[in-house]
Amino acid sequence: MTARSEKLPTPARLRPRDVLAVGLSGLRGRKLRAVLSALGIAIGVAAMVAVVGIGTSSQARLADQIAKLGTNLLTVAPGQSFAGTAAQLPSDADAMVERIGPVESATATGKTDATVRRNDRIEPGITGGIQVLASREDLLGTVGGKLRAGRFLDAATGNFPTVVLGDTAAKRLGVTEPGGQVWLGGQWFTVIGLLDPVPLADDLDVSALVGWEAAIKYLGFSGNPTTVYTRTAESAVEAVRDVLAPTVNPKNPNEVKVSRPSDALAAQLAAKDTFNALLLGLGAVALLVGGVGVANTMVIAVLERRQEIGLRRALGAHRGQIRTQFLTEAVTLAGLGGIAGAALGGAATYAYATAKDWPFAIPIAALAGAVAASALVGAVAGLYPAGRAARLTPTEALATG
C-alpha cells in the first residue's frame, strides 16, 4: 500500500518570535490580572532598587564629601608617655610641622581647663560637655571649617576675651547670633562668631574657641598645643604621616598620636554596606511574595485555559511547546514587573536623592540584576503550572467546559 511508505512528518520548532507571541497571547486577553500580578513583582523590585539606589546615592554623597574635604588632613595629638602620664606637645609644634617639605599648612588648638556657661548663675559643674580651646588664628583654613555668622579670631580679637563657638556648643549655650556674652573661665567673653559643623574635626563642634594669647592671659593656658592640624600635598600624605611624630617630638616620637580624620568617613562609607544588605534582604522577600503571586496567576490561567491547551494540542503543539508557552508567559509577566519595578525604584531614588540634595546614583548592574532576578523568579513560579499544562492530555484538556 502506498500509504504505508508515507514518511512521518517531522516535528517543527517554533520560531523565537512565535514563542514570544504565543507566550504573550495569554496576557493580552487578561490585562488587568496580568498588571496586578506583575505589580507584586514590581513592588518587590522597586523596593530593592530603591534600597540600592538610595544607599549608593548616600555613599556617593559621602564620597563627594570626602573628596571635597580632602583626605590630606592629618592631626597630631599627644599620646601617653612611657610612664603612663599624659604627654605634651612642644609649644611650637605646629611651627615645626609647617617646616616639613610637603606640608601646605599647619595650625593648632590647645585644651584649657576653663569651662563655659551661659551666665554666672549656672553651677560651675554644668559644663554642657563644652571644652574651651585656645585656637590659632589660621585654624579654619586648615580644618576646612566655615563661619556661619560673625568673624573668626584674629590678631586683634585674639588678645581679648572674645570667643567663637562651635555649632553644637552654640546650641547648648543657646547662642544664635554673635554679639552676646558667655561666662567663660570666671569672666565674661564676647561671642564674635559661630561655626558651621566641621566634618573632619568634629570636636571643634563642641568647643568654645578663644585666642591663643587670650587663653594664656585669662585662662592660665600653658601654651602647649593639644592638637596640631596639618594639610599636606595629596601625594605625600603617607610620607608626612611617618615623619610627623619625630618632627614634633624628636626625643620621644612614640608619645605622639597621629591620625587621619578622613579615615573615619571612609569607615562610615564601608559601614553603609552592611545596613544595605539587611534592607536588600527585605526587598528580596517582597520579590518572593511577588513570585508567589505570579505562580498563583499561572495556576489559575492553566485551569481556565484548558480548552486553549486542548486546541493547541489538536493543532499540533507537543508537550514541550505547551510548557514553553506557559513558562514564557510567566517569565514575561515577572520580567515586565521587574522592568516596571526598576523604573519605579529608580524614580523613588531620584526623588529621595533630590529631596536630600544628594547626587543621584544607581549602579546599572543593580537595575539589570533586578530585572534578571524577577525573570528568574518568573521562571521558577511558572515551572509548576507549565508542567501541569504540559501534562494535560489533549482529551482531558478538550473535555472541560
Binding site: 512521518l8 517554533l14 520560531r15 518570535r17 486553549e308 494540542r313 493543532l315 499540533g316 482529551t395
Partner: protein, 275 residues
C-alpha cells in the same frame, strides 16, 4: 489545492453522489494518479489509500467504563463519512482515537499506516499538525485574534513564518467564503461564520483528513446547512472528512454512515443516498 476533479467521484455531474467509495474507485481509473498526497498513482485498480484505520480498537477508562469496544473502521482518501450515534454512544471517544488525541487501551489505530501506539508525543503532535485537521462544536476561536490570525494559528506548529502563515490563512478563508471577513474578531462574526473560520483553520494546513465534531451542534439550521454544504464542497475538492454527529438527518445526507451505539459500531452503511 489540487484540481477539484483530480480524484474519482469528484466530477461535477456526479454530485452529490458518493465519491471515492472503495470498490467504485476502479471505474474512473484515468484520474487516479492525481490523487492528493498519493504520489505516483497506484495502478488504477487499487482502492484509494487508507488514511485512518482502526483494528479492534477499544478504550476503557480507569474505573472500568468501556467507551469503545473492538471497533474496526477504515477511512480512505476522498471519503466523506458520518459517524453517528446518540450522546454517550462513544463517538467522541472514536473521534479522539482517530485524531490521535488519545491512545487506544486495546487494538490498533493507524494513521497513514503508522501505528499511533509506537509514536512519541512529539511525533504524534507532528502527525496532528500535518495530517489531521479538527473542527469543534464550540469553534475554539481566540476572542482577541482576528479571523485571519485565528486561521493562521492552524499553521503555527508547522514552523513556517508569520507572513506566510497569514497568506495561506487568507487563502483558506477565501475558500470557505470569508474572504471579506479577514480582519473581523470572532465576536463580530455570526455563528455560522465562526464555524467556517474554524473550518478554514482546520484545512489551512491541507491535512489528509478533517475530523469535525458536531460541527453544526451550536448553529441554527440555516447556518448548519451552510456549514454542511461547505464540508461537501471541501470534500468535492479532495479533502477527506469525517463528521461526528448525533443528527441522523445530517448523517443520512452524507455518502457513508458509521452508526455507533454503546461503544460498538453497529452499522457501516456505504450505500449512497443518491443511489
Amino acid at each position: 489545492m489540487t484540481a477539484p476533479d483530480a480524484y474519482p467521484g469528484a466530477a461535477g455531474d456526479r454530485r452529490p453522489g458518493p465519491p471515492a467509495i472503495p470498490g467504485q474507485a476502479a471505474a474512473p481509473a484515468s484520474t487516479a494518479p492525481g490523487f492528493p498526497g498519493v504520489p505516483g498513482g497506484h495502478g488504477g485498480l487499487e482502492p484509494p489509500g487508507e488514511v485512518i484505520t482502526l483494528q479492534g480498537a477499544g478504550k476503557t477508562y480507569p474505573g472500568g467504563l468501556t467507551a469503545l469496544d473492538n471497533a474496526d473502521l477504515t477511512i480512505r482518501e476522498g471519503e466523506l463519512v458520518a459517524i453517528v450515534g446518540p450522546s454517550g454512544s462513544g463517538k467522541s471517544t472514536l473521534l479522539n482515537l482517530m485524531g490521535t488525541l488519545d491512545r487506544p487501551s486495546s487494538g490498533r489505530v493507524e494513521v497513514l499506516g503508522h501505528d499511533v501506539a509506537t509514536l512519541s508525543d512529539r511525533r504524534l503532535s507532528a502527525v496532528r499538525a500535518r495530517w489531521i485537521g479538527f473542527v469543534f462544536q464550540q469553534f475554539f476561536l481566540s476572542p482577541h485574534l482576528s479571523a485571519l490570525d485565528n486561521v493562521a494559528t492552524g499553521l503555527l506548529y508547522h514552523g513556517i513564518g508569520h507572513s506566510r502563515r497569514r497568506e495561506r490563512a487568507a487563502e483558506a478563508l477565501t475558500r470557505v467564503g470569508l474572504g471579506h471577513r479577514l480582519d473581523h474578531k470572532p465576536h463580530e462574526l455570526s455563528g455560522g461564520e465562526r464555524q467556517r473560520t474554524a473550518i478554514a483553520r482546520a484545512v489551512v494546513s491541507r491535512p489528509r483528513i478533517v475530523l469535525a465534531d458536531e460541527p453544526t451542534g451550536a448553529l441554527d439550521s440555516t447556518s448548519g446547512a451552510a456549514v454542511v454544504q461547505l464540508l461537501r464542497d471541501l470534500n468535492a475538492q479532495g479533502t477527506t472528512i469525517a463528521v461526528i454527529t448525533h443528527d441522523r438527518q445530517l448523517a443520512d445526507s452524507l455518502p457513508r454512515r458509521v452508526r455507533i451505539l454503546d461503544g460498538r459500531i453497529q452499522e457501516d452503511d456505504m450505500a449512497g443516498t443518491a443511489a
